[in-house]
Each structure stands twice: as C-alpha cells, then as structure tokens.
C-alpha cells in the first residue's frame, strides 16, 4: 500500500459508512491528479518525502473527514468538551459502554431475582443511574482529553480511526508518515508521548478504583453489595494487580522520557502481560469469586442461589478473558520475533550491499 492509499484509508475510517466509498474514490483521484501534476512540473517522480509533504498539506485525516459530515453536533457544558470531529465516535463508544453496563447490571439483577431475592424498583433505577453516570463521566473525560490534544496538535496524525464501527482505535504511535517509515526503522515507530501520558492517567484511575473496591464493594457489585461480598481471592491478588499496574506506569514514564525505546516497551509489555496472565489464572483457579454477605457460612437459600449463578457467570467470563489474554500474549511474542527477524534480514542485506 502506498502513501496515498494509507492517507485515504485513514480518512475513510472516519467517514459516514454510506458515503465512505464514494468520497474515498474521489479523494484518491484528487490526490493522484495533484501528484501527477507536480511530477509533470518537475519532470520526475516525487520522492517519498515530497509525497508526504503533499499529504501533510491536506491536513489531519480525521479533521478532513469531519468536513464531509453533515452532523456537526458537539458536547458543550459551558465550554466545548467534545467537538463535532470526535462527537460521532463519542456517541458510539458511549452507546457501547452504556449498553454493556446495562447488560452486566441486568445479569446481576436477574441472578438475584433467580435466587429468590426481592429487589425494589427504586433500587434498580438508582443503581442504573449511578453506573450510567460513572460511565458517562469516564468516557467524557477521555474524549475531552483527546479533543484537547487534537485542538492543540491538529498536525499530529495520531488517530488510526474507527475499527469495525465499534470502537475508537487510538493507535497513538502511528501516523501516516511514520507508518511508511516504520519499514525502515529497527523496531517500529517511536512510542507516542500522548500514549504514555494516557496510560499513566488510565493506570492511576485503575489504581484508585481497585483500591476503592477493597473498601466499597458497591463499586463492583452494585446493588448486590448488601447481599454478597468479594471472595478472599480478590484480596490475595490485590497486591500483584497493584504491582503490575504500577509497573505499567513506570514503563509509561520511561517511554515518556525515551520514546525511542521501542524494544524496551515490546519486551516489558510481554513481561507485564505474562504477569497479568498468571494473576488471571490464579483468579480462575480460585473457583469462587463472590460469597454471601455473611461470609458464605450459612447463607439463606435465596442468597445461595444467587451466589451460585453469579459464580458460574464469572467463571465463564474469566475463562474467556484468560484464553483471550493468552492469545494476545502469543501474538505479542510472535510480533516481537517477526520484528527481530525483519531487522536481522535488513541487517544482512545492508551488509551485503
């Protein structure tokens, strides 16, 4: 794929689906016409750098795509928090998150109802509203940060675009130019400082949350916190999880200072991922993840049913997560090996030349 295709693809990902193909074709045609025009003027082919400069003039693919959209809605509370460029992605991510949250809450309530618990309508509404508010706040803060970054640095093409129409894929490390250059670099493009800062912020929030869950199980169990409590395994794995999260913060800090330490990040992430997998496996082996509020010694019959159902749901959820995580770990190792081999073969070719 050449640079023009990369650019057009980046724009296309942020276009409305019904117009995507049409606009992409026309944009591609326009860029190629301009390239040919320049080549005619110069009497030679354009270099990679000249092509890059030409594409740079056209601007950030995300901003360009936004100009084609009719929908110019934004989120403004006093000041603009999420502008028209990111608003469609914000809505999609929010819908997905809220949908998922409602499914999880629904599953908990169903388990409780199946266990013979009586749940009031007010309890259901208050729990849903609280969870929705938390999701809304988190997603809005993340998008506000991305919006601030985009407004400040529109020339940094960090946005990879939408992935399958489901999620905003912020692959910060790769812009159009560096994607092309990465073929020539040793281990891949530099680690984006924005990515490092985002990871530090996300990990700090995660630490605050897992620490809060220790004291306030309501944060994870919701309305079931009065009937259930976390099994001892969660308290046993608290420090390993904390350690892994802090390790990721340390790594992000190092890459913030040294974005060129790409190999360091590749290896470090594999190690942290392996640690995370070990913790997840220990969690899976525990066999029980929630117990009755009285410690599970003599739970009422209704509570017992709810505990069993929830543990079953958690078992399958954890099993799926462990399998997925193991697959990702294998992928990361294979990726590292492939990069190493490519680097070696380039080294051999360079020596031969």
């Amino acid at each position: 794929m050449d640079l023009v295709d990369s650019y057009v693809r980046a724009v296309a990902k942020a276009l409305p689906e019904e117009q995507r193909e049409d606009i992409s074709r026309e944009l591609s045609e326009d860029i190629r016409s301009e390239l040919e025009d320049r080549q005619r003027e110069l009497g030679r082919d354009l270099t990679q750098a000249e092509q890059e400069a030409l594409l740079r003039q056209r601007g950030n693919p995300l901003l360009l795509a936004a100009r084609y959209r009719q929908d110019q809605r934004s989120l403004t509370i006093g000041r603009e928090l999420v502008g028209p460029v990111l608003f469609p992605f914000y809505v999609k991510v929010l819908s997905f998150n809220l949908g998922l949250t409602l499914v999880v809450i629904g599953a908990i309530f169903l388990a409780l109802l199946a266990g013979g618990q009586r749940i009031g309508f007010r309890e259901i509404v208050s729990t849903c509203l609280l969870q929705l508010f938390i999701q809304l706040a988190i997603v809005t803060v993340i998008f506000f940060l991305v919006q601030t970054h985009l407004t400040k640095h529109p020339d940094r093409w960090h946005l990879k675009g939408m992935s399958g129409g489901m999620a905003l894929d912020l692959n910060i490390e790769r812009d159009i130019a560096s994607a092309a250059k990465s073929q020539r670099k040793d281990w891949g493009p530099k680690v984006s400082r924005f990515e490092s800062i985002s990871i530090i912020v996300a990990c700090a929030v995660a630490i605050a949350w897992i620490t809060g869950v220790q004291k306030y199980p309501f944060l994870i169990l919701g309305p079931a916190a009065s009937l259930l409590k976390l099994a001892p395994i969660w308290y046993q794995i608290y420090f390993p999880i904390l350690l892994l999260t802090v390790a990721e913060i340390v790594r992000a800090f190092i890459n913030l200072v040294r974005p060129d330490w790409v190999l360091f990040r590749l290896i470090y992430r594999i190690l942290v991922h392996a640690g995370g997998l070990a913790v997840a496996y220990a969690l899976l082996r525990a066999g029980s993840w929630v117990v009755g509020a009285d410690g599970g010694a003599n739970p009422p019959a209704g509570d017992n049913g709810a505990v069993e159902i929830l543990n079953q749901v958690l078992y399958w959820g954890l099993l799926f997560s462990v399998i997925l995580s193991a697959g990702m770990l294998v992928f990361r190792i294979v990726d590292l090996v492939l990069r190493w081999r490519r680097r070696e073969s380039r080294g051999v070719r360079a020596t031969a030349n």
Binding site: E29, D30, S33, D37, R58, L63
Partner: protein, 122 residues
C-alpha cells in the same frame, strides 16, 4: 474593501485585529465561493481541474472545503455529477444542473446588485 479593513487594522494597534480580519475575510469569501463554484461549473469539470481553475482565477480553495461543498450543492440539486474514465482513470465530473443554472443567474444578479450598492458607498 480590503484596503479599508487593513487601514483599521493599522490604526488600532494592540488588539488582535489580524485574527478578526482573517475571520471576516473568510466569511466574505465563503459566501462568494458558492457563486464562484457554480460559475466555474457552467463548463463540466472534475474536482482537481475545478480547484485549479478557481485558483488561477484568484479564488483558491482547499480540497477539504471544495469537495464537501460540491456534495452539498449536488444534494441541493444545483449540480449533477457522473463518474467517467479519462486518461485511463475514473474521475467524477461535475456540471451545473438546469436548476443550478437558474439559481446561478439569480445569484449573479444579486451579486451585481450588492456590488453596485457597495461601490456607491465606498
């Protein structure tokens, strides 16, 4: 018009008049761009040549503005377009629709009227 605005700019130092002037200039141009595009498309053209034509006539417009504008004008029924092969590549050619021709005529009359009024005032 241009000279007048610049004159004000230099007479009031210390304020961000350059930014203000740029905004007003863009606003002024935005309105006239539609007219320029419609006028240029009396003759059928594809996007890139249209952009060049406008630029050569002193109405430079970036592609991020032109193409969405073309789409809007087409959805309003003022333009028609078709994909056709030229020089071994598929290109999208635009031209004025019959409705576009009528609107252009009306807009040109309005433009002349504004221009006459302004010239009388300046």
């Amino acid at each position: 018009m241009y000279r007048t605005v610049c004159g004000i700019h230099y007479m009031t130092p210390g304020t961000d008049n350059h930014g203000l002037f740029e905004n007003l200039r863009l606003e002024l141009r935005r309105g006239s761009l539609v007219l320029a595009v419609l006028a240029a498309l009396r003759k059928e053209q594809y996007g890139y040549t249209l952009r060049k034509t406008l630029s050569e006539q002193g109405m430079a417009i970036d592609e991020g503005t032109l193409y969405p504008l073309l789409r809007r004008l087409e959805s309003q029924g003022l333009l028609v377009s078709e994909w056709r092969e030229e020089e071994k590549r598929n290109k999208r050619f635009y031209r004025l629709s019959s409705e576009g021709k009528v609107i252009l005529k009306q807009l040109l009359a309005e433009w002349q009227s504004i221009s006459t009024s302004l010239n009388g005032m300046l």
